[in-house]
């Protein structure tokens, strides 16, 4: 895979708009997140648009990851976390209690900051989730694994050693495998929590290219601390900031507007490196 990064400056964003009709895929209304009695995120309203890459930026501890985790209900795994508000996905509020969590998480996949391939072979890492959704046919599994590994650009590197334990791969390869593992379930949305922050610059660039290549095919929400990266990959961007010790969404809009003509002073200070 080519290593040069595709910069999404003003011009190229318009070009990306063609694959980026603003149709809401997820609609977030009045979302608040509490851990025990401490509110970490309050009153967030935004739409995640179908086929677009939405970047969430802001300093550490302002609730970006908490926000991301509510979108596939990973917050359920945190003891004492409570979420209020609405997140509409296919007209259903996914925050409603009786919901098929397993199906939801297969539709909305997640990539974590630190690559977390299972301590199994590369093949089994991908076959396990497939078997879980009831695909038993060995040929079909093999086909899907090959396709998805080609999609993430790993096939050339690993096709001769699919039996190798996945944790022996390099960090960047591990992260691409994790993306492949999420993609193999054919999700609609991918949530990425600082997917490049644990990687070296070269691997990071490869993974970034991969993320860009997902545009139009998947809806991507990416949390990143790397402003340059957000600027390069995102169609839409949201800026989170702590106000009175509570995380809030300060500004949301087209990435180019948010970076070049921020409406809010805080945003301007942050994207220009004067704050945060």
């Amino acid at each position: 895979m080519a290593l040069q990064t595709k910069g999404f400056t003003l011009g190229q964003l318009t070009e990306a708009k063609t694959c980026c009709e603003p149709i809401p895929h997820l609609s977030v209304h009045n979302l608040s997140v509490k851990y025990q009695h401490k509110t970490v995120l309050e009153n967030v309203n935004l739409d995640i648009y179908k086929g677009c890459i939405t970047a969430l930026i802001g300093p550490s501890g302002c609730g970006k990851t908490s926000f991301l985790s509510t979108l596939n209900r990973m917050t359920d795994m945190i003891a004492g976390a409570s979420v209020s508000g609405k997140v509409l996905f296919h007209d259903d509020n996914i925050l409603n209690q009786p919901i098929d969590l397993l199906t939801l998480r297969r539709q909305i996949g997640m990539i974590f900051q630190k690559p977390n391939p299972f301590p199994l072979s590369i093949y089994r890492n991908l076959a396990l989730p497939l078997r879980e959704i009831g695909i038993k046919d060995k040929q079909l599994i093999d086909y899907k694994i090959e396709t998805v590994l080609k999609d993430v650009g790993l096939w050339q590197e690993v096709h001769h050693q699919l039996d190798m334990t996945a944790t022996k791969l390099s960090g960047g390869q591990q992260q691409r495998l994790c993306i492949a593992r999420a993609l193999v379930l054919e999700p609609e949305i991918l949530l990425m929590d600082e997917p490049c922050s644990a990687l070296d610059p070269i691997s990071s660039a490869v993974v970034e290219d991969l993320i860009v290549s997902l545009r139009g095919r998947y809806t991507v929400v990416i949390v990143t601390h790397n402003l340059a990266q957000a600027k390069r990959v995102a169609n839409y961007a949201g800026f989170f900031w702590m106000q009175e010790r509570v995380g809030k969404l300060v500004e949301f809009g087209r990435s180019q507007h948010l970076f070049d003509q921020p409406q809010n002073e805080l945003t301007a200070a942050f994207v220009n490196g004067r704050k945060g």
Binding site: N72, M77, K114, F118, P119, P129, T167, C178, R181, A182
Partner: protein, 280 residues
């Protein structure tokens, strides 16, 4: 300098431990070695154990151990999974169960023996039998085994738990395919501790599996475990010292072989299912 002293201290401590073991084995070799032979392993005890061998004792010991493991392994793993994965750390019942286990782990084996006698032998009517002895030992090793497995599971990388959940894998599948294999070193450590304790146990078995030294026909028969045999020979049988020492040597070897087996199986399983260098 301080570093040197510290190192010397560590070496001395290790040597001391080795010397104790050496001294112990050397004491057994004194009379025991002459008595050891293939015949000793494969013939039945005669003359209250002074003559003959220990074939029936070995069979009874292994049967008791088999019963113990068959019961303790699934029950222990299930309990550990429940404690580590399906209850919150501060869950009321989990805390009570943990407290009970920690108390049970400190209960003297003779108390387990009396409980086993009262419950399995009398109340459930198993009498003096290998089954009753094995079940009693299972009760005895469960607390430590469960707690070791629980801690092993808890120390498994949380990102695998999240990863599995984010893929929409049911929790029980994540436990089975990812977390348990990853916790295997801890599980086998717990198992080795348990096996060691079970094969060395005397008091609890005298009340439950009895000390008849005939070849057991089934798990419902009474059977004399190796440790009971050693105890009996050295305390109640004059002139039984040589046989007792030979039996003790065999017991040591059995424990060694079982430990090595447990490590080998762990390695094999880890090598196949989990990565080799997954500790780093």
């Amino acid at each position: 300098m301080a570093e040197r002293l510290f190192q010397a201290g560590i070496w001395c401590a290790a040597l001391l431990v080795l010397m104790v073991l050496f001294w112990l084995v050397q004491g057994l070799l004194d009379q025991g070695l002459a008595k050891l032979s293939v015949d000793f392993l494969f013939s039945q005890p005669q003359n209250a154990g002074r003559d003959g061998g220990i074939s029936s004792i070995l069979v009874a010991t292994l049967l008791i151990l088999a019963v113990t493991l068959l019961v303790a392994l699934p029950l222990g793993l299930a309990s550990a999974v429940w404690l580590a994965e399906f209850t919150a750390t501060h869950n009321f019942w989990a805390r009570k169960v943990r407290l009970a286990l920690d108390v049970m782990a400190g209960v003297p084996s003779i108390v387990f023996g009396l409980f086993g006698y009262a419950f399995f032998s009398l109340f459930l009517g198993m009498g003096f039998s290998i089954l009753s002895g094995g079940l009693t030992l299972a009760c005895m090793i469960l607390p430590v085994f469960i707690r070791t497995c629980e801690i092993g599971l808890r120390s498994v990388n949380n990102s695998w738990r999240q990863g599995a959940a984010a893929l929409g894998m049911p929790k029980i599948k994540a436990v089975w395919f990812i977390l348990l294999p990853a916790a295997l070193p801890a599980i086998s450590a717990g198992l080795i501790l348990g096996i060691g304790r079970a094969t060395a146990e005397t008091a609890a078995l005298m009340f439950t599996s009895g000390y008849v030294d005939r070849m057991p026909g089934s798990v419902m028969d009474s059977g004399r475990a190796l440790s009971v045999h050693i105890y009996d020979l050295s305390m109640n049988v004059t002139g039984g010292d040589a046989a007792a020492q030979a039996s003790a040597l065999i017991l040591l070897m059995i424990i060694m072989v079982l430990n090595m087996l447990a490590y080998a199986i762990t390695d094999l399983w880890l090598g196949r299912r989990v990565l080799n260098g997954f500790a780093n």
